[in-house]
């Protein structure tokens, strides 16, 4: 336990360094690098707006992410478990998966009717590939003994996917979900920088345009806290579902 809590010491330490740097900077550049206290004040004053921004952002992130995970698993397990399908999709996976999904953002915004639809779409693309690759590799590498076992117990294809391959692939799926979650946040904020009028990314962009750096930094820290909470939640879910994977 003490080891795990030691991570909490890092934050006061970072704030200390930050305060120190802000203090020794020449006065004319201080407005570009606000001190912790100024940021804390800005954060406090903006909490209401930031909360509204959180709600708006989550309305994009949650549907995009959940759709991505569902599609990636439903599609990835059969592809991974079927040799020919795996080979068939391999070139696509090699080409499409590494494309940074941020390149789709301007086009998606131009193409789709509403900002929300296009933002959900890019979040979906960003989260889909890591989860899909996880599901495919997980289903492809089910230990042979589990496969044989399912066969002698009289399993059909569908039952095998659902009752064996999915569970055996779950650790790999969760790894993909972690990467996918980080991608989803990146794409969300990038999309909001481009075209939103609410949301966390928009908040940061808006105050950067006005050179209100205490508020901008407050927005960044707040967004970081939201991301951190989401990742922690996912880690908890993973721990619960993979209790057998020790």
């Amino acid at each position: 336990m003490p080891h795990r809590l030691s991570g909490l010491l890092l934050f006061p330490l970072l704030v200390g360094v930050w305060a120190f740097v802000a203090e020794i900077l020449p006065p004319q550049s201080r407005y570009l690098f606000p001190a912790p206290l100024a940021v804390a004040r800005a954060l406090w004053e903006s909490l209401g707006v930031l909360w509204q921004g959180t709600v708006a952002s989550m309305m994009i992130l949650i549907p995009g992410y959940i759709l991505a995970v569902l599609a990636a698993v439903l599609f990835g397990i059969p592809v991974g478990a079927t040799t020919w399908a795996r080979h068939f999709f391999a070139p696509l996976m090699r080409v499409a998966a590494p494309v940074p999904p941020t390149v789709y953002v301007p086009y998606a915004i131009a193409l789709l009717p509403t900002f929300r639809a296009s933002a959900i779409f890019v979040v979906f693309i960003g989260a889909f590939w890591p989860v899909f690759l996880g599901a495919v590799s997980g289903a492809a590498t089910v230990p042979e003994r589990h496969r044989d076992n399912a066969r002698v117990l009289g399993f059909g294809r569908w039952e095998y996917w659902r009752r064996v391959a999915f569970h055996a692939a779950l650790p790999a799926i969760f790894n993909g979900m972690g990467v996918g979650m980080a991608m989803a946040f990146i794409l969300l904020t990038v999309a909001e920088l481009f075209g939103a009028n609410v949301g966390l990314g928009h908040f940061v962009q808006y105050y950067a345009d006005f050179a209100d750096y205490p508020r901008m930094v407050a927005g960044i820290i707040y967004t970081g806290a939201v991301t951190f909470s989401a990742m922690t939640l996912l880690a908890q879910l993973q721990k619960r579902m993979l209790f057998w994977n020790i």
């Binding site: 003994r145 589990h146 044989d148 076992n149 399912a150 066969r151 002698v152 117990l153 009289g154 399993f155 059909g156 039952e159 009752r163 064996v164 569970h167 055996a168 779950l170 209790f243 057998w244 994977n245 020790i246």
Partner: protein, 268 residues
């Protein structure tokens, strides 16, 4: 599926003719895991399979289970060629392969669920768990059980499917001597009740003789059946019957573990 029957077994006859199986290893070497195996097993017969490590016992069981195609020869069950795995031929693997993400109850119920028979046969899961002495461990997960307990769970999982042929690859290997004898008697009881054809691999000569109608001895290089010994004793059998001692000696001799007593020149 199969209700307890009376009288002689009518299904579960296996015929193996000229079966060959080779494996090619990564370095290009070719291993002949089975070379020309012939064996006829009557419906409801209890066969034990014994032989040194690597002589192809597991390979033969897997071939009967339909897990891998053979290179030559023919395998039939009740006259029908064996082309792939099916629930009528249950296999308990050498190492207990429970699904780690399912608890013991669900592991045992697995085959029933897969074939959509769980609803009608729900109660049997509990019965078979009780049979293998795991009735209080239904909610535990495989990693919480000992090796022997996992083996018993794997046995229950195969039994609940009520196959007409049960292939057992050293199912009692990880058990202590007492649990082992207990399980041997349970297996005999199940076998007599269900008239299931049994083919069981064992490394234990006493177990082979005690359980079998016929003991099949396999030999490596080339992997083949060396000899088949009939055990003509009524059941229930007494473990310490002198006939067994004699059969045991005969088996050990075939397996080249007969000892040197009969050759005094080697004695000190």
């Amino acid at each position: 599926m199969v209700a307890p029957q009376t009288g002689a077994a009518t299904i579960g006859a296996i015929n193996i003719r000229g079966v060959k199986k080779t494996f090619t290893h990564q370095d290009g070497s070719i291993i002949e895991a089975l070379s020309n195996v012939d064996l006829s097993v009557a419906a409801g017969e209890f066969i034990t399979l014994i032989g040194p490590s690597g002589c192809g016992k597991s390979t033969l069981l897997r071939a009967i289970a339909g897990l891998h195609p053979v290179d030559a020869g023919e395998l039939t069950l009740d006259g029908e060629p064996i082309t792939g795995p099916a629930a009528e031929r249950g296999l308990v693997f050498q190492d207990p392969l429970l699904f780690p993400w399912l608890n013991i109850h669900d592991n045992v119920a697995f085959g029933l669920k897969a074939r959509h028979l769980y609803r009608e046969h729900k109660a049997e899961v509990g019965q078979f768990l009780k049979l293998v002495g795991l009735e209080t461990f239904g909610k535990s997960y495989p990693h919480q059980l000992s090796g022997g307990m996992q083996q018993r769970a794997a046995l229950a999982r195969a039994l609940v499917n009520q196959p007409s042929v049960l292939l057992l690859d050293e199912p009692l290997g990880a058990l202590d001597a007492f649990t082992r004898m207990n399980m041997q008697d349970e297996i005999i009881r199940i076998w007599q009740e269900r008239k299931t054809t049994m083919i069981m691999v064992t490394h234990d000569v006493d177990e082979a003789v005690y359980l079998a109608d016929r003991v099949v001895v396999m030999c490596p290089r080339p992997a083949r059946i060396e000899e088949i010994i009939s055990v003509k004793r009524e059941r229930p059998r007494a473990r310490s019957h002198p006939d067994f001692l004699q059969l045991r000696g005969k088996l050990l001799k075939i397996l080249d573990f007969g000892g040197q007593e009969r050759e005094p020149e080697y004695r000190i």
